[in-house]
C-alpha cells in the first residue's frame, strides 16, 4: 500500500530502498518492475508512462528495459546455467545457438564460464546469484531491480555480489536495490526510506 511516493531515479544511479516489512517496498518494486498495476499517480520509465499497459506490451518492456535479481535466485531447475542466462533472449526470438553463445559471454563476465553446463542445484548460493545477475544483464536493460539480492547469502558472498552489482552500475546501468540491511544500503549512492507507504526524509 503506497500513499505518497514521489521520487526520481536518474539514469545511471545506484539507489537502495529501505523499509521494514509492510512499508510498501515490495509494492513499489512490483510497480517499478511492471509486475503490478497501480490505481493513482504516474510511473514513467525512460519517459514512457507505464499505466494500464496490455500484458503483451508489459512483457516486452520487462524484457527489454528491466533486469530482475531476486532473493531466492529464481533459476529454472531443469535448465543449466547457460540456458538460464539465455532465457530472456529466447523471448526476443534470438536463435538458440546465438543466445547460448551470448550467455557464455555473460557467464564469463560474472566469472562462471566453467560452470555453464551445471544445473542450478549444483551451484552454491553465490554462484546462483551471479548466474541470475548474468541473466538480468543479457537483454542489456536500462535498469536492474534487485529484490533483497543478498538476503540468502552469507556476508562474504554478499560483498562479492555487491561488488559485481557496483561494477554493473559503473557501466551506466541504473540499479535499484530493495534491502533491509544497512550495510548493503550504505554501499549505494542514495537510500530511499519507506514507512507506511510514505517516503521518509
Amino acid at each position: 500500500m503506497l500513499k505518497g511516493v514521489n521520487a526520481v531515479v536518474e539514469s545511471g544511479e545506484m539507489v537502495s530502498i529501505m523499509g521494514s516489512s509492510g512499508s510498501g517496498k515490495s509494492t513499489l518494486l512490483n510497480i517499478l518492475g511492471i509486475l503490478d498495476t497501480y490505481d493513482a499517480g504516474e510511473y514513467r520509465l525512460e519517459g514512457e508512462l507505464i499505466k494500464q499497459l496490455n500484458e503483451k506490451h508489459a512483457a516486452q518492456l520487462r524484457n527489454q528495459l528491466i533486469g530482475f535479481v531476486f532473493q531466492s535466485f529464481n533459476l529454472i531447475g531443469f535448465k543449466n546455467a547457460m540456458e538460464n542466462v539465455a532465457l530472456p533472449l529466447y523471448y526476443q526470438n534470438v536463435s538458440r545457438k546465438k543466445r547460448n553463445l551470448i550467455a557464455l559471454e555473460y557467464l564469463e563476465k560474472v566469472g562462471l564460464k566453467d560452470w555453464a553446463h551445471h544445473m542450478p542445484n549444483e551451484l552454491s548460493g553465490g554462484q546462483k546469484q551471479r548466474v541470475a545477475i548474468a541473466r538480468a544483464l543479457i537483454s542489456k536493460p536500462k535498469i536492474i531491480l534487485a529484490d533483497e539480492p543478498t538476503g540468502a547469502l552469507d556476508s562474504q558472498t554478499s560483498l562479492e555480489v555487491m561488488d559485481l552489482l557496483k561494477g554493473i552500475n559503473d557501466q551506466g546501468i541504473t540499479l535499484i536495490i530493495v534491502t533491509h540491511e544497512h550495510d548493503i544500503a550504505e554501499m549505494t549512492q542514495r537510500t530511499i526510506h519507506l514507512k507506511d507507504g510514505n517516503i521518509l526524509g
Binding site: 518492475g33 509486475l35 503490478d36 503483451k56 524484457n63 529464481n74 532465457l87 523471448y91 537483454s139
Partner: protein
C-alpha cells in the same frame, strides 16, 4: 512450430514425471483404443449382417403358404393354404409391379446326388428361369434353367460350386449327367452364390420337370419375386396387393397375416440396418465418453503441472514471456501428450482389429472388423482438438499467474 527449446522443455518435464505422464497418457490411449475397437467391432457386425443379406437380392419378396388365423367366408381358422402353379401364373400374368417371378419347390426328402462313383447329400430346388434374380445366382459357366426347359420338361440342372467341387473335382461338369434320386439330369450350368456353403450346395431343376419326376402334382412351396422398388413403404404396399390378390383366390381374409407368410427382404434389411446404425451411434457415444474421461484426466494433470510450475511461469513472465507464449507452452505439452498416447492407442486398436481379422474364424454375423482411414484420421483430429481442450483451462490459469506472487512465494 518446431521450436527445439519448447520441445526440450516438454521432454524434460515428461522425463521428470514419467509415471504421471504415463498414467495420463494411458487414459487417453485407452479412450482412443476403445473407440477404435468398438467402431471396428460395430463395423464387423455390420459387414457380417450385410453379407447375410447379400445372399439374396435385397429387393426380393418371398411368399410362403401358411395357415389361416381368421375365419373368413364360412371357413374356420386353421385352413391350410397351398400354392400351385396357378398361383405363380396368377401373379406373373396379373401382377405388373413384380419384375422377376419364380416358383420355388423345396425337395427336402430328395438329397442324394451322384455322379459316376461319387455321391453326396445336396439340396434340390425346382425353380423358374427368373429365380436367378431374387436368389442372386452368379453363373460361372453354362446357363441357368430357361423357358424351353420348363415347357419341354427337360431333365436339366444348374448346379452349385460345392457340388462341382465334391462330385466332379477337376472334371468339366457341363454336359455330364448327374443322378438325382434315381433320375438323370444333364448339367447345363454351374453357379456361385454369395450366401455361403448352403446356397452353393444346391441343384436347380426346372419346376415342371421336378413336379413330373418327383411330386406328381402341381404344388409349389413358394412364389418368389424381385421388385423394382427401393422404398420400403412401396414394397410393403406391393406385399399387401399380393396378399389381396391371393386372398381372392384362396378365400382368406386379406388382413390375415398368417395365411401367407411373407418375407420382404427390403423391409428386413432396412430394419436391421437402422438397428446397426443405432448400434454405431451408441458405440460412438461410449467411445467418445471414454475419450472424454481421458481428456479430463489430461486436463487434471495439466492443472497440477501448472501449479507445480507456478514459479517457473512467474520467472518466465518476469523475463518477458507474453501471456500467449505461456499458453502456447502449456497447450503444446497437452497436445503432445494426447497426440502421442492417442496415436499409440489408435495403433494398438488397429492392430487388435487386424489380429481379429486374421486369427478369429469368420462367423456369419461378424466379418472383417475394420476402421476406415477417414475414421482413423477423424480420431486423430479429435485427439489434437481434445489435447487443445485439455490444455486450455490449465493454460488460462497459467497465463494468469502473477509473477511477483509466484516469485515471492518461492
Amino acid at each position: 512450430m518446431f521450436d527445439l527449446d519448447k520441445w526440450q522443455e516438454i521432454f524434460s518435464n515428461i522425463r521428470k514425471n514419467r509415471l504421471r505422464t504415463f498414467l495420463t497418457g494411458f487414459s487417453v490411449a485407452w479412450g482412443i483404443f476403445m473407440l477404435i475397437v468398438l467402431l471396428g467391432a460395430g463395423k464387423g457386425l455390420q459387414n457380417g449382417v450385410k453379407s447375410q443379406f447379400a445372399r439374396d437380392a435385397i429387393n426380393s419378396i418371398w411368399l410362403n403358404a401358411g395357415k389361416t388365423a381368421l375365419a373368413y367366408q364360412g371357413y374356420q381358422p386353421g385352413k391350410e393354404i397351398k400354392f400351385t402353379n396357378e398361383d405363380y401364373q396368377l401373379i406373373s400374368q396379373k401382377y405388373k409391379r413384380a419384375e422377376h417371378i419364380s416358383a420355388r419347390m423345396h425337395l427336402w426328402n430328395i438329397s442324394l446326388i451322384s455322379y459316376k462313383s461319387k455321391f453326396g447329400n445336396f439340396n434340390v430346388k425346382g425353380v423358374h428361369p427368373d429365380m436367378v434374380f431374387p436368389e442372386k445366382v452368379i453363373l460361372t459357366s453354362g446357363r441357368f434353367i430357361n423357358d424351353r426347359d420348363i415347357e419341354e420338361n427337360r431333365k436339366v440342372t444348374c448346379i452349385g460350386k460345392k457340388i462341382v467341387d465334391e462330385l466332379f473335382k477337376a472334371e468339366e461338369p457341363i454336359g455330364k449327367e448327374i443322378n438325382v434320386n434315381g433320375v438323370l439330369f444333364k448339367v447345363v450350368g454351374v453357379f456361385y452364390d454369395d450366401g455361403g456353403d448352403q446356397d452353393n450346395r444346391r441343384a436347380y431343376l426346372p419346376v415342371s420337370t421336378t413336379q413330373r419326376a418327383f411330386t406328381g402334382n402341381t404344388q409349389i412351396d413358394q412364389v418368389v419375386m424381385s421388385i423394382n422398388e427401393k422404398d420400403v413403404n412401396e414394397s410393403e404396399e406391393i406385399v399387401n396387393e399380393l396378399r389381396a390378390l391371393l386372398s381372392a383366390r384362396h378365400h382368406f381374409d386379406p388382413n390375415d397375416q398368417k395365411a401367407i407368410f411373407v418375407w420382404n427382404n427390403l423391409t428386413e434389411y432396412k430394419k436391421i440396418m437402422s438397428l446397426l446404425n443405432g448400434i454405431t451411434i451408441f458405440v460412438w457415444i461410449i467411445g467418445i465418453g471414454t475419450l472424454i474421461a481421458g481428456i479430463v484426466g489430461v486436463s487434471n494433470i495439466m492443472m497440477i503441472v501448472v501449479k507445480e510450475r507456478t514459479v517457473e511461469i512467474g520467472i518466465r513472465k518476469a523475463l518477458g514471456a507474453s501471456p500467449w507464449s505461456i499458453i502456447a507452452l502449456i497447450l503444446q505439452e497437452a497436445v503432445f501428450i494426447t497426440s502421442l498416447f492417442g496415436y499409440i492407442g489408435l495403433m494398438l486398436g488397429i492392430f487388435l482389429l487386424e489380429a481379429f481379422n486374421k486369427y478369429l474364424p469368420a462367423s456369419d454375423f461378424f466379418k472383417n472388423p475394420e476402421v476406415d482411414l477417414s475414421i482413423a484420421l477423424y480420431a486423430m483430429l479429435l485427439l489434437v482438438i481434445s489435447g487443445l481442450f485439455a490444455g486450455f483451462f490449465p493454460a488460462r490459469k497459467a497465463a494468469s499467474v502473477q509473477p511477483i506472487d509466484a516469485l515471492r512465494g518461492a
